[in-house]
Amino acid sequence: MAEILVLVDHLDGDVKKVTLELLTKARSLGEVSAVFVGSGFDTAKDKLAEYGAATVHVADADELTAHPVAPKAELLAKLVADGDVAAVLVPGTAEGKEVAARLAIKTGSGVITDAVDVVASDQGIVAEQSVFGGSTVVHSTITRGTPVVAVRPNATQPEPAPAAAERVDVAVELSASAKLATVTERVVKSRTGRPDLTEASIVVSGGRGVNGAENFTVVEALADALGGAVGASRAAVDSGWYPHQSQVGQTGKTVSPQLYVAAGISGAIQHRAGMQTSKTIVAVNKDAEAPIFDLVDFGVIGDLFDVLPQATEEVAARKG
């Protein structure tokens, strides 16, 4: 059976959930080989095995992570050239999509981004995308080369199916052009202890209605009670109340959690574009006419400074 390559997303061997989702999808398409770049394979191995990676191509030379994007694309292109590869799945993150972009050009292959599903069919690999803020579902195929698909995080439920995760080391001679840009410093913001925004199954977001950086504690408290991530509208980010990484919407992150809570957010079309595919949507807003109420499963017309703390208390009480 032909190989399906899955690019592993990890931080020092701590495997991101999106990788497990990709492995789960890849199993229905062919023989699964994970591709692990950087250090920390020993930490990652058990997870990769648990979710069905038969083989793991490991490339841990420092060069590969000292330069952004291009080395990973070069490594994948080499694996595609040397093996019998039916498709390459990469995480649909900012960097994953860039790796996909370069790989597509290098291998002369079509690329599909933001896939929410990938299935095998008579026409080959078919990717499903959800576009225009979830209002339209598109099915696409790749007509040239080895399909490269960037799959959106949180689109599949990861399911274990143990395999060997046998390590195969790959040595790459990077070309000069892969080393043109160099990472000289990595600035890691203090970890919040909360799940990543795009991976979280629950997201609680605050908007202009939160009215100040210090008031975001109200949003954070509910997120923590529910075990969720914290998001923000652009109005809140532009006001400097919450970091840019937390912005949900057209020019921010696209999230698709089981539950999205919008507090003090009006529901502008650009905000909706980033959260409309959430399974359940609830909102708290003072204004009964706020457009966010058009798409909620449950809405509370009221002041978020009353409703959120009470909800936080109630969640805690139910948990006992």
Binding site: A73, A101, V111, S135, H139, S140, T251, A288, I301, E314
Partner: protein, 264 residues
């Protein structure tokens, strides 16, 4: 310093979008066209870097005739000249084709034979939302890729950016020329002044077609795409669920609803 800024014309996000049933491409007639918002930040960054280095900014756009409006907007903000690649065969081009056309335009005579120090793009177009073009362009040109920049600095020989990441940012540096893409956090785009709008009318814009670029129509547009839309379907819009007015127990009611959906 010579800078090119790549801008795309996109449907206004405030208007509803739809795919055309004949060929599964965006129905552009149905919506107003504007400069991709992220590209306003790219233009602004190019102008600021040019002002600091006594440089020149060229605007490059691939798109239908009405794209001239977007080029004029960039010129009225202060860019010096424009290149407009327009050809009927380009309709339906994907990122692969777009990056090939932009690379060819940069290499052309109007594009000064590729003699640029910096090529600046937005990090994402609001219509297709692929974020593929900047990385593809860097790959095709064999130039350093410094993308998702929230800060750009150059001393004329090297460029250093802060690349936004999920965990914070990376400081990335390279020699020139280089391909840079920017996020909207980077600056505050200026509004064109009346003087700028008047001046823009006299600034040169060269128009190129595929023949000028030595590209084959079969390599671009829907015909040259490396992926194909097989089918699409419009989902019924979400409908409003239950709305309650907070009478002192709104928070509790909210949690009861979540519990009924097994979300707590």
């Amino acid at each position: 310093m010579k800078i090119v800024v790549c801008v795309k014309q996109v449907p206004d996000t405030a208007s509803e979008k739809a795919l055309r049933s004949e060929d599964s491409t965006l129905d552009r007639d149905a919506v107003d066209a504007v400069m991709n918002e992220m590209d306003e930040f790219a233009v602004e960054e190019a102008l600021q870097l040019a002002e600091r280095t006594d440089g020149e900014v060229t605007v490059l756009l691939m798109g239908p005739d009405q794209g001239t409006e977007t080029i004029r907007k960039a010129l009225s903000m202060g860019a010096h000249k424009g290149i407009h690649v327009v050809d009927d065969a380009l309709h339906g081009s994907d990122a692969v084709a777009t990056s090939a056309v932009l690379a060819a335009a940069l290499a052309s005579e109007e594009g000064a034979g590729g003699a640029y120090d910096l090529i600046i793009l937005g990090s994402e177009a609001s219509d297709a939302r692929t974020s593929l073009v900047p990385a593809m362009l860097a790959e095709r040109l064999g130039l350093p890729q410094l993308t998702f920049a929230q800060k750009v600095d150059t001393d004329g020989a090297n460029v250093t950016v802060e690349r936004l990441t999920d965990y914070g940012h990376d400081v990335v540096t390279s020699g020139l020329p280089a391909v840079v893409s920017v996020v909207e956090k980077i600056n505050e785009p200026r509004y064109p002044s009346f003087k700028g709008i008047m001046a823009a009318k006299k600034k040169p814009v060269s128009t190129l077609d595929l023949g000028d670029l030595g590209l084959d129509a079969a390599e671009v547009g829907a015909a040259g795409a490396w992926s194909k839309v097989e089918d699409f379907a419009v989902r019924p819009p979400r409908t409003t669920g239950e709305l309650v007015k907070d009478e002192g127990d709104g928070g509790k009611q909210l949690v009861s609803f979540l519990a009924s959906r097994k979300l707590v």
